[in-house]
């Protein structure tokens, strides 16, 4: 908060009652399809919130409704107690960092950054602009035109141009999508740093799960107009509730099983002849068929007959069909006796040699790392879309 300059800003809410962003039953229908279906969402004040989903899932539409660039078909948007659902975009204390930056090509960097302040009648903005350019490390570029700058620099200008207005909510629409991978990594950390410094509410729309997990305090995974699951990044990753989340956020092995029922804090599942025990809080189905899910890096692998350092069940009879060496780890595909190929990621600790294709192997995992999903869902949901 120390970075926020209090001079002459009207939009900044007084400290006091919470100024959370609340979406209630928000719906956007177009002639041929529904982009957003009765969305309920609370973005806590001062948090870095990510809206994650594949393209066409409705996340950008949601963002544009918050910005005022689209009018909702029904539902409401509140900032604290103030309803802003139908406010004109230029009357909302909300600013956006657009996907392609949308910098004004006829204005130099300093004037781009000062644009919002000038429109609100703040004439004496020299210091604010200078401070903002310093924050995004572009002080020396103030008099250049946007077209003379690199993608990363333009991105930072777009950020500065929005941030200088000290909006209550900053919306970021795929802000890093146009950058190359290396630059994107750098900007992710940069964005997180700035958000921490200014302490504003950030709503970040992205289809890149890694980006969302790196930066966000809370992620909402969106699919086909609804939020599938919302929570802290590690919580979503470790304990996905749907096959879509399991697949879209990282990778998962989903193995078909029969749920035998609950036993205390555990749910028992029969999987390919063996019985697995899943902690009840990780079991999102308690009867019938289910998908037993396990992350590839949680699966341990050893040559057939060799001991595996795990207390869980050992499944034997697999063999390696593919090996990819990716530096920090080795990724194996293991064909199981029932025909399914499972992914296994092993850290390259150096404790054992790499297993060549064709090696007969046993695999195992700790039951508390597994999760259980309802088998009515498509096991491949969320795989192709990224």
């Amino acid at each position: 908060m120390s970075q926020v300059h209090e001079t002459g800003t009207a939009t900044r809410a007084p400290s006091g009652p919470s100024r959370d962003l609340k979406l209630a039953q928000l719906t956007k229908e177009y002639a041929t399809f529904t982009a957003v279906k009765a969305l309920d969402l609370v973005v806590p004040q001062g948090k870095f919130f990510a809206l994650l989903g594949p393209s066409g899932c409705g996340k950008t539409t949601t963002l544009r409704m918050v910005a005022g660039l689209e009018t909702p078909t029904s539902g409401t948007i509140h900032l604290g107690d103030t309803e802003i659902t139908y406010d004109k975009p230029y009357k909302r204390p909300v600013n956006t960092v657009f996907q392609n930056y949308a910098l004004f090509p006829h204005l130099n960097i300093a004037k781009n950054v000062a644009f919002g302040l000038e429109r609100r009648g703040i004439k004496d903005h020299k210091k604010q602009v200078a401070d903002m350019l310093e924050l995004v490390e572009l002080t020396s570029q103030a008099h250049k035109k946007p077209t003379q700058m690199s993608g990363g620099q333009q991105q930072r200008v777009a950020l500065a141009r929005a941030l200088i207005n000290q909006p209550e909510v900053l919306l970021l629409d795929e802000p890093l999508g146009a950058l190359d991978l290396k630059l994107r990594r750098g900007m992710q950390l940069e964005l997180k740093r700035i958000q921490t410094e200014v302490g504003l509410t950030f709503v970040h729309v992205t289809h890149d799960q890694e980006e969302a997990m790196t930066m966000a305090d809370t992620i909402a995974v969106m699919n086909q107009g609804v939020i599938e699951q919302m929570g802290a990044p590690n919580e979503l990753y470790e304990n996905p509730r749907t096959t879509f989340v399991a697949n879209f956020l990282g990778q998962s092995n989903l193995i078909a099983g029969e749920i035998e029922g609950r036993d205390g804090d555990l749910v028992k599942v029969r999987v390919q002849g063996a019985v697995a025990s899943i902690p009840a809080d990780r079991a999102h189905s308690e009867s019938g068929k289910g998908w037993l899910g396990i992350r590839p890096e949680k699966v341990l692998i050893a040559e057939a007959g060799q001991p595996i350092d795990a207390p869980g069940d050992v499944i034997t009879g697999g063999y390696v069909t593919d090996v990819s060496f990716v530096g920090v780890s080795t990724q194996y595909m293991v064909k199981m006796p029932w025909g399914q190929e499972l992914m296994v990621f092993e850290q390259n600790t150096g404790a054992r040699r790499m297993l060549p294709v064709g090696t007969k192997v046993d695999i195992s995992w700790r039951p508390e790392f597994a999760f259980l999903l309802d088998a009515s869902q498509d096991a491949k949901a969320g795989i192709e879309e990224d």
Binding site: P89, F115, R119, R161
Partner: protein, 310 residues
Amino acid sequence: MTSTAGVAPANPHETATKAPRGRKLTGYWLILPGALWLLVFFVIPFYSLLAASLFDPKGSPLTGYDMTWHFGNFVDAFDQYKGQIGRSILYAGIATLTCLVVGYVLAYAIAFKAGRWKNLMLVLVIAPFFTSFLLRTLSWKLILADDGWVVSAAQTLHLTNLLNLIGLTSTDDRLLATPFAVIAGLTYNFLPFMVLPLYASLEKVDIRLIEASGDLYASPIRGFFKVTFPLSLPGVVAGTLLTFIPAAGDYVNAQLLGSPNTRMVGNSIQNLFTSQGDYAAAGALSVILMVIIVAAVMLYVRTAGTEELV
């Protein structure tokens, strides 16, 4: 490359250097038709005009003209026709401004609001070109005729009084043969030259920039003046030039819709060349008009500063 070839002519590189030279020549061959065209249809006529402007004014088409570096022609022509020059600039200026206002609204509507009617509207903009310039102007003569319904409607609505008041018409309640009719004719005839470049440049304005301006607290009107309009400046500059330059030199509208008191410099040049056969004065007046227009255009383009938008 060339110096290597010079140092070692027997070098195997030579064959390599020859190929690009051949390609270079191709470039010149491609320029040739255009250059010839310019020579025949621009350079020679231009020199001819320049020579005529320096003819001894005592000549005539029958007794012949001699080029005697008679620079006094310029002084005489300017002195005698400064009224028409001023009138041309004034009329063309008003017509250009009117075209800009009307044309901008139209181009904006076509670019942003026309939807699927866009192509149809563009065709309608250029539709007048399907008939001849002269015919279109002549039909305005019919429309604005003293006994026509336009004049009586304008009289009923007291529009003629308003026009009289600002000096665009004479005092006897008519439209034809007044400055108003000439300016209206110029505006009508050159409007498409304004609309098309404006449309082309508005069409290129990224709608997301307009959204961004709204997001940054600019009301639609301020967003227009701060973002859309500056971004359409290349079209504004092109459109005003394409309208002003031909309008300033036009003589058809003044001839058909004006009166002897609304003659423009184009009428004088035409009259000097064809009726009076005074090539010296005609040439000098043409060169003066050209210099004024070129100077005005350079000043204008520099002020508008479009190069920053490229």
